[in-house]
Structures are given as C-alpha cells and as structure tokens.
Symmetry: C2
Subunit: 483 residues, 2 copies
C-alpha cells in the first residue's frame, strides 16, 4: 500500500469513534463478560517448590528448565548520570525479539483493529485489551506445547504490501536488559470468522478506551503509539473537510492534531534535537556487568521472594498459575511486583503556535543505547518524598484541574509484572512555566516524537504509552473550515 | 543558527569550487610540502620488545600499560546470516567515544572548513587531510602527556548556537567492537591565526579532493557525509538561481543534487524502509562472546604478529613509531594490516525520475545493532574468486567506462590501520539491471540515506565514505532555469 494511503487510513480511523458493530459501552460490557468467563488463580510458592524453573546458585540466576522464555539475572551498574552512580539489581533477560501484532481490516473506508481480551497472570482485573497476537519466539516455536497462537500466520511472513507498520521498540529499561519487541500492523481482506475473545475497534475507540484505567494493555499501547499520520498535505486537507475539523474555541484536540501533522513549525530542527541527544550520550556513561543474583549488594534472596533490603523498587516471587482461556492453562513463572505505583507525565505547552511536549533524556540500565527519550516526569511513587529535587514532579502533582488533560492508571505488561500500574498524565503548562529547563530536557512536537519513535531505540515505553493516549477526539467539535 | 540557514550554507559551499585563498592545485602542492616537512619512521618490533603495551596471556588481550587508549581482544561470533555462521577473530575494543570535529567560518557568504594535514603512522603517503580536531577521550585527558590538541576548546563545550552538526557515527563493524565517534561541525566568528598545518577549504573543494587517491582521510569523510542540505524549498530555489543550476544534457550531477534534496519522490517511504530493516533485524541473530586472544580458532600468535592460519583477513603487528609534527613524537602501538585491498561500491539508478542507490543491510560482528546499511558491494579483494556468489560484484567489476562515476582509492583510519585502502566506486546501472534484488537490498534516494545517517547506527562507515564523495560539481554545467 502507498504510504499516504496508509497514513490517511490511520488518521481517519483515529477520527472515528462511531462503530456500528460495537460501541464503547458494548466494549466495556463485553470485557466484563470475558472476565466472568475465565478462572484465574495465582498461587505464590516457595522457590524450593519450583519444578519448571530453577533458582540456580551455580549459574547465579533464575531460569526455566528448558533454558528458554526468560531468566532473572543480576547486574551491577556504574554510571556518571543522576544521583545514584552505582547499584546492583535483578533484571529480566530475554534475548529474543517478541512479536506484537495487530490485524486490521477496512469497512466502508474506515480501518478497524482486531483486539483480543487477553488474560495475563499479572493483570489488574486479569482481562485487558491486547493486540491480535502477542507472542515470544518461544511461543512461535511452541516450546510449551500449547496450541499454536491464533492469527500467527498473518504476522510470520506477511505480504509486504499488507504491512502498515513494522518497528522494533524497547521495553522498560529499568526492568529488561536490552529487550525489544517487533511492533507490527498488518492489513487483511480475508473474511475473519468471529471469535469470542476478539473484537474490531476503530483507532478513535481504542484511544477513548485508554482514558479508562487498566483496560488497554501495554502491548496494545506500544503498537498504537507508532502509528504514523503523515505530513499535513492536500489528502489530509480533504479528509479534514470531510470531518469538518476546525480550529474552534475548544482548541485543545485541534492543537494535538496539528502538532501531530505539522513537520515545519517546531521549536528545534531534527538536527538540533539529534545534536542535543548526541551531546548527552557522549557525556553520560553506562557500564552494566553481569553478576550472580546471589551477590547483589542490598538484595536478599528469601524462601519466598527476592527483595531489596530497604524494601524499595520491586520484589520477585514465583507462582503456580492457573488460567483458562490461554494456550497453556497451567504453569509456573516468576512475577515482578513493584513496591509502589509510579507516575509518568508529559508537560505540554504551545510554543510558536504549536503544541510541544517536554521530553527528558533518561538513562536506564537496560537501555539498548544509554539514553532514551522519556516523559517530562517518570518516577515511582515511594520516591516522591525523596525526590523533591526531581524536575517538574511538583509542577505535575500540583496542576489545577483545567491543566490536567489526561489522568488514568495504566498497567505494565501482565506477563511479567504483577499488578504494576503507573499514573499516566498529560499536563498543560501555564504561562508561568519556567523558560529555563535542565540540560537533559527539550521541547518537541508530537510529529517529531513520532519521527524519532519510527527510527527505534529513541522513545522509551513510558513515553510511547503516553503518546498512544493522545486523543484527537477529546472534547472535539467539528466545524467546517481550514486547519 | 536556524537550520534552514545551516542547510543553505552547506549547500552553497558544496556548490563552490572557487576558493580565492587556495585552489585545488595549491592544496596538492601544500600537501606535498607537508610531507617533506615531516619525518616518519615505523619500525616493526617483536611483541616481546613492547614496553608501553603488553600482550597479556592472563587477560587474553593486547593492552596499553595504562589500561587506556584501546585494546585488541578476541571474540567468538555466532550468527544465522551469510555463508559463514561461526568464527573467531581479534577485534579492537575502545569503549570511549572519539571526537571528530571540523571548525568552519564564513567569508562573503561562503562556508569554509578548517582541515589539517595530519600524519598518522598507518597512512599511505603519511600525510592526509584530517578534520580540525581528531581526538580520543584519552587525548582530551592527555594521558600520553603530549601537548593539548589544537582547537580542542571549540569542541568540548561549544555554544549550542554555533553547532552545525553533532552526530554519533559507527566505525568499521568488522574491526571495532561497537566503536562510535562523535562527528561535530562548529561555526566560529573568531579570528583564527594561520598555522602551517591547517587550511580553509570549501565543501566543493573537499569533494573534488576525494576524487584523488588517499588524500582526504576517513575521519574527514565521515564528518562530511553527515552534512544536511535540507529539503528542496524556496530558499534553495533562490540559491540555485544564483548558481544558474539547470537540468541540462549532462544531467548526472543534477540528478545527484535532486536525489539529495527531494524528500517526496522516493520509491519507498521511510515507514517501508524501516519495516524492511525491522524484518531483517528480527531474522538475523548476532551473538558475540569475548574470548582470549590466545584461544581463537584459526588464529596464530607469533613473535612478530597475530595472523590468520589461512593468511586471510588481516594481521596485527606492533611498532615503534617516530613522527614529528604530532602531539607525541614517539610511541609504541599495535597496527592492523589488511591482507588485501577491499572494494566498496554503490550502484545507482534512476527510478521514477529520481536517482536511487542500492543499499545493503549488512551484518558485521562489531555492529552496535546487528545490521547497518552498507554499499551495494562491500568485500575484500582476496575474496573475489571465492565470492562469485556475492551479489552485484561482477556487475561492478565489469562496468563500462561510461557507467563508472567514481573510482578512487581511499584509506581507512591511519591511527589503527596500516596502509589499508578500499577502492571506492559509484556505478550507474544500465536499463538491463535486474529488477529483482535479494531480500537484504533496497533502493533509496540520497536524501533518505542522509536521513537515516542522522539518526545514527544506521549507515556503516563504508556507505558514509561513498556518500561523502557525492559531488554536485562533477562535470556540472550551470545554465539558468528551474530545478
């Protein structure tokens, strides 16, 4: 497919909340039904009771007997960035590239996305809206001898002309060691038979659902975040006219749309942003050495869990999982449980007439390339007190109701993380917002963030989660006129 | 500086061969003078006679006594790409980010670049045109207690408004383990006093000099390759009118210019190219394990050199170096000597009216991220016979004189490599060129390559070397008219 056509299909779907087959209310009811239709039991067990995994003193890690899936390893980190320059921690190692795929089809010119009600052991509410396919390499190769994942054939060797998006994107740099997933969207004209666990939604609906707590899972959010809408052009102009979009009194959503499409009015050029990032990558050093889980300073391995001596960050425990409605119904695995919730927030501000987001260059130990672009604020809640020095945290926490444009709780990936959620916020800065920002912050438009996102290893998963939630239909009024 | 202004300064300088201060002939004579003004002696010695370095059986490497500069390590490589899936080799490890900086100034609206006649032990002809500053972190910190490098102050903490380019770029992935350099161009209004070893040249002149063998060093070429010319716009239109550039009968240089500026007419969109690259990165695996230099299969460590048992690839020897006209006049260091010369070539072809280059996704063991974008052909000469299966090699070697648009010998970096040169070629494809290309090849315009280059870890040093040589003034005729 021609890329302009792809961009326009995406944009039109993002501007469409009306779905004749399933309304937002229907989706919410359907999810409740799915929850009732499954049985989930997570039984925390002792490391000594593991049969499928091994806490291995000799190898210094926690690994599956097959050597596949993932392992929990120890690392020692040295850096010259931030307050803490040296620490040890457990981290997830999973060298394979996972696959997060969404299938789409077109009905009456509108693109629909096939999402799945997926049960994951760590999910708050157990059931969340996942991509059509969410699979690790071990899944493809069916190591655990479950059923072949549904729709796998659409993503393994897709017809090039059907591929609408195909990117490598990072997972949490504080939890995964250089882990990346392939994010892919494939278009089909096949007749797909209805299935209990799958629904077709417009992009506008998915974004609306992201305003609900813990409903759209992280994997869906990361795939959605990469969607390109193209550069503002005559095709789009025609599209807007169809939708009668106009810059009216309620300008907020219009501002988001313009910031997503306008490639020419940003405060900084790409070369300037790359120069800024290059300077910081040159300045900040990151050295990560593997170390036995049993030798990590300030970490304890107990009978039941691996935990930090000061009860900070996260714990790792193992569990017997029983779930109906998955490829494998019963298995053991480690889960990572945060000690506290976190907060991620983009501060946004109109500069030179176009909406800009305040982006932070953030070093995390598992990053593929030292730094990634993170939200204006990204921290865990229990560090609130300690982090009075954290730039912009107080600004975000003290925002007035009119400034808060998004405020929801969103889950981390429930296949690894146990009931971990972050408060996702978009805060509009007032005129009094400081002109001077620290050296590792920069203002960028949404289209610029989208461009960096394309080129992979730039935007971290937290900033992608927030970008995915950007909703062009937020209190949007359609009035005919120009953009 | 505004980025449009920067782009236009670069473009205008690239279109300027007239330099009232120094003609191309003057430069050639000046380089000859510089050669006569220095004394260079490279004395190959036994490993046993090293005083400043140590071939260390215990650590399994060859390292400097201070632990700084670089070391030669052993690696074992496993991959599922290419013919050879498993091998061992020595590799250069240098974790610090080097700095390659060029200072520029403007005279009568034309940008001039300050280049240095630099003597490096491995250089063919000893003296080549280097960036204003070429320094490792060890240099800044003056580990070898030489003089402070000249012009260092311009590049360490430059005024942001003076930075015209600031990128991280890779070195040879077959020789360096994930080595990167910072490529930086800084603008100054200072009065720079004349120095014997430095000259001011236009970008057009530097490109002309790249048509000469082994004159412009690799570090200059990589910095030059990253220069942006901007998107075809009204400013540029005015600029072309000034220069009376026109699509005339001799269209080749015009085609290069258009391919560098036109962002809208490419065969594939960015999203398509990224999708292609993502698929290949997902498919190809690369595992690199450190291993003692003394345990590398098919490699011997002799009294005088480290070499491959089949006499392939390269040798490593150590030498006493004596050079006048450098920070340190006398030192010991390892040098890497290739067994044979190499060839790198871009095949170019007009597709949909715009010049495209045939780009290869190439896996090399030291790559930062598995694959980089390489020229259409990249190999070493002694593999010619063995590599009848190497795509497009025969096409390049059998090109007719009219097809050969560039054919020069260019040196690798003389600070590490001993008299290593590659034949650099640009070959224009005929109509009979195969429509079908292997899955790891794709056609891209120059502007697209330049965009990927910006985002770092995409273009390998060989493709950058060729891009740097793209000369808009090659047999260029100025006739008034539109682009």
């Amino acid at each position: 497919m021609d890329s302009n056509h792809i961009n326009n299909l995406f944009l039109r779907s993002a501007l469409t909340e009306e779905n004749p087959f399933m309304s937002i209310t229907d989706v919410l009811a359907w999810i409740e039904d799915r929850k009732k239709a499954v049985f989930v039991n997570i039984e925390k067990i002792k490391f000594a009771d593991l049969k499928e995994w091994k806490l291995d003193q000799h190898k210094g890690n926690l690994h599956h007997n097959s050597g596949r899936f993932f392992s929990i390893e120890g690392i020692e980190v040295n850096t010259n960035a931030g307050e803490v320059k040296h620490w040890c921690q457990p981290i997830i190692k999973q060298p394979e590239i996972g696959l997060l795929g969404i299938l789409t089809k077109e009905i009456d010119g509108i693109l629909y996305f096939l999402l799945q009600a997926k049960i994951e052991p760590g999910n708050i509410n157990f059931v969340q809206l996942a991509p059509t396919l969410q699979a690790t390499e071990s899944n493809f190769k069916q190591v655990h001898k479950g059923n072949k994942p549904e729709f796998l054939e659409y993503f393994i060797n897709p017809d090039q002309d059907a591929v609408m998006l195909n990117q490598l994107q990072s997972e949490q740099g504080a939890r995964f060691l250089k882990k990346r997933n392939r994010n892919i969207i494939v278009y089909t004209k096949d007749k797909i038979k209805e299935r209990d666990d799958f629904i077709w939604l417009t992009l506008g609906q998915i974004k609306k659902l992201m305003a609900h707590d813990n409903l759209v899972n992280m994997d869906t959010r990361t795939v959605i975040s990469g969607i390109p809408y193209g550069r503002y052009n005559s095709d789009q102009l025609a599209l807007f006219e169809t939708y009668n979009v106009k810059n009216n009194e309620n300008t907020f959503s219009y501002d988001l749309l313009r910031s997503s499409l306008d490639y020419d009015s940003a405060l900084h050029s790409y070369d300037e942003i790359i120069g800024w990032f290059t300077s910081l990558k040159t300045k900040y050093e990151l050295e990560v050495k593997q170390k036995s889980l049993f030798d990590l300073k300030y970490w304890d391995i107990g009978e039941w869990e691996i935990s930090n001596k000061n009860n900070k960050y996260f714990k790792i425990f193992v569990a017997n999982i029983n779930i109906e409605n998955r490829e494998v119904r019963s298995w053991q695995q480690p889960l990572i449980k945060p000690v506290d919730d976190g907060i991620i927030a983009f501060i946004i501000k109109k500069i030179n007439g176009i909406m800009h987001l305040l982006v932070q260059a953030k070093l995390e130990c598992g990053n593929y390339d030292v730094l990634e672009m993170a939200p204006s604020v990204q921290c865990i809640t229990d560090s609130y007190d300690a982090s009075e020095g954290l730039p912009f945290l107080n600004y975000v926490l003290n925002a007035s109701p009119e400034q808060i444009k998004l405020d929801t709780l969103q889950s981390e990936e429930g296949g690894r993380f146990y009931q971990e959620q972050n408060r996702n916020m978009i805060i509009q800065a007032n005129e009094d917002f400081p002109k001077e920002i620290p050296e590792n912050y920069i203002w960028m438009t949404i289209s610029q963030l989208n461009m960096f996102l394309k080129f992979n290893n730039y935007l971290n998963i937290q900033s992608r989660s927030l970008l995915a939630a950007v909703d062009f239909l937020q209190k949007f009024e359609f009035i005919s006129g120009d953009l």
